[in-house]
C-alpha cells in the first residue's frame, strides 16, 4: 500500500516536466508539419496524365508557366513540376498538352519529407490554349496492380529472407 502511494507520488512529480517536454516537442512539430499557401490564377501545362477507373480520379503532371500573384515565389517558379490528383471536372475535357489557368492550394509537409502537397480547384480551371498535338488522357495500366502492391513488397522481403536462409543453412548441425 505504501509503495503504491510512493509510486503515485513519483508519477505525479514527474508529470509536469514530462508535459512541458511534450509541449516543447509537439508544438513546433505541429507548426512545422504544414505550411500552407494558396497561389491563385497560375497558368500551367499538362505534361502527362493518367485516369483511374475505380475512383474516377485524374493524376496530372503539370509544369508551371506563369506563377501568378503569390507570396511564395520560391515555390511557384516557372518550370516547376507538380503532381495533382483531382476529380475529373465536368465542365471541360482535359487533355495532355493543354495550357490551363487555375487556382492552387498547397502545403509543405516539412516534418515528414518536405513533399509539396498541391491541389487545384476543379471549378476554377479554364483552358487557355489547346495545341494540335494534345491527346486524350489514357487509363492507368498499373491500376489493377495497386491492390496487390503491399503483398509484392512483403514478397520481395520474404524472397530474400529465403535466399539468405539457404545461403546460411548448415547441413550437419555438429559442424
Amino acid at each position: 500500500m505504501k509503495s503504491a502511494k510512493f509510486i503515485q507520488k513519483r508519477l505525479l512529480r514527474s508529470l509536469p516536466p514530462l508535459t512541458l517536454l511534450m509541449i516543447m516537442i509537439l508544438l513546433p512539430a505541429g507548426l512545422w508539419a504544414l505550411i500552407g499557401f494558396g497561389p491563385e490564377s497560375a497558368t500551367f501545362r499538362i505534361i502527362d496524365a493518367v485516369q483511374y477507373q475505380q475512383n474516377g480520379l485524374l493524376s496530372l503532371d503539370v509544369e508551371i508557366i506563369t506563377p501568378g500573384p503569390d507570396l511564395t515565389p520560391h515555390i511557384m517558379m516557372p518550370g516547376r513540376r507538380f503532381n495533382l490528383e483531382l476529380a475529373a471536372p465536368q465542365h471541360l475535357e482535359l487533355k495532355i498538352g493543354q495550357k490551363l489557368r487555375g487556382s492552387f492550394s498547397g502545403a509543405i509537409k516539412d516534418l515528414e519529407n518536405g513533399q509539396i502537397m498541391m491541389d487545384v480547384d476543379p471549378a476554377s480551371l479554364q483552358i487557355i490554349e489547346e495545341t494540335t498535338d494534345s491527346r486524350d488522357i489514357p487509363y492507368s495500366h498499373w491500376e489493377p496492380v495497386f491492390e496487390y502492391l503491399q503483398y509484392f513488397k512483403v514478397a520481395f522481403i520474404v524472397f530474400w529472407w529465403l535466399i539468405a536462409s539457404l545461403l546460411i543453412s548448415r547441413r550437419n548441425a555438429e559442424d
Binding site: H74, N113, G114, K153, L167, I168
Partner: protein, 168 residues
C-alpha cells in the same frame, strides 16, 4: 546451385541475423520511400548542424532551389566517408553494412527526383536503391565473421606457443 546452399553456413549467426533485420527495415523503407526513414534523423541532425554555416532553411524542404541540392550532397557524402573509414581500418562487416546507407542515399535522390516529377531518373534511382539493399544483404553475409579461431589465428598461435614455452 547446390554448391550455393550452405555457402555461408559457417558465418557468425549474430551478424547474420542483424544484417537480415537491417535488410528488412531498409527494404521496407525503400519500398515505401515517402515514409520516414530511420536515417532521416541523422540527416536532419547533420543538416541542422551545417545549417548554421549555410542557409538550408529546413532539410527535406524541396520548395527551394540550391539548398536542397546542398543538403542532398551532404546526405549522399556520409556513406562514402564512412566507407573509406571502415576499409582503412579493416572493418569488413561494417563496410558491408554501410551499403545500406548507400541505398538510403539513392533513396534520397529518388525522393528528390520523384518530387520534381522526373520519372525516369527517379525510377533508375529507385531500382538502384533496391539493388543496393539486396547487395548489402549478400555482402553482409559474405563478410560476416567465420570462426573465432580463423580471425585470431596468429594471436592463438602466439598464445599457445607462449604457454608451451612457459610449461617447459
Amino acid at each position: 546451385m547446390k554448391s550455393l546452399v550452405g555457402l555461408y553456413g559457417n558465418r557468425n549467426r549474430l551478424q547474420v541475423w542483424f544484417s537480415l533485420l537491417v535488410f528488412t527495415l531498409c527494404a521496407w523503407w525503400t519500398l515505401n520511400p515517402r515514409s520516414f526513414h530511420l536515417l532521416d534523423g541523422t540527416s536532419i541532425t547533420l543538416a541542422l548542424m551545417f545549417g548554421a554555416l549555410f542557409d538550408f532553411r529546413f532539410p527535406f524542404n524541396v520548395a527551394s532551389a540550391w539548398p536542397e541540392a546542398a543538403f542532398l550532397m551532404i546526405t549522399v557524402s556520409i556513406p562514402f566517408l564512412l566507407h573509406v573509414h571502415f576499409l582503412r581500418n579493416g572493418l569488413k562487416y561494417m563496410s558491408a553494412l554501410n551499403l545500406f546507407w548507400f541505398a538510403y542515399a539513392a533513396q534520397n535522390c529518388f525522393r528528390l527526383l520523384d518530387a520534381k516529377i522526373y520519372r525516369w531518373p527517379a525510377t533508375l534511382f529507385f531500382v538502384l536503391s533496391l539493388t543496393l539493399t539486396v547487395v548489402a544483404l549478400l555482402k553482409c553475409l559474405q563478410n560476416s565473421e567465420t570462426r573465432f579461431e580463423d580471425g585470431f589465428k596468429d594471436e592463438i598461435d602466439e598464445f599457445e606457443h607462449g604457454e608451451n614455452e612457459g610449461s617447459v
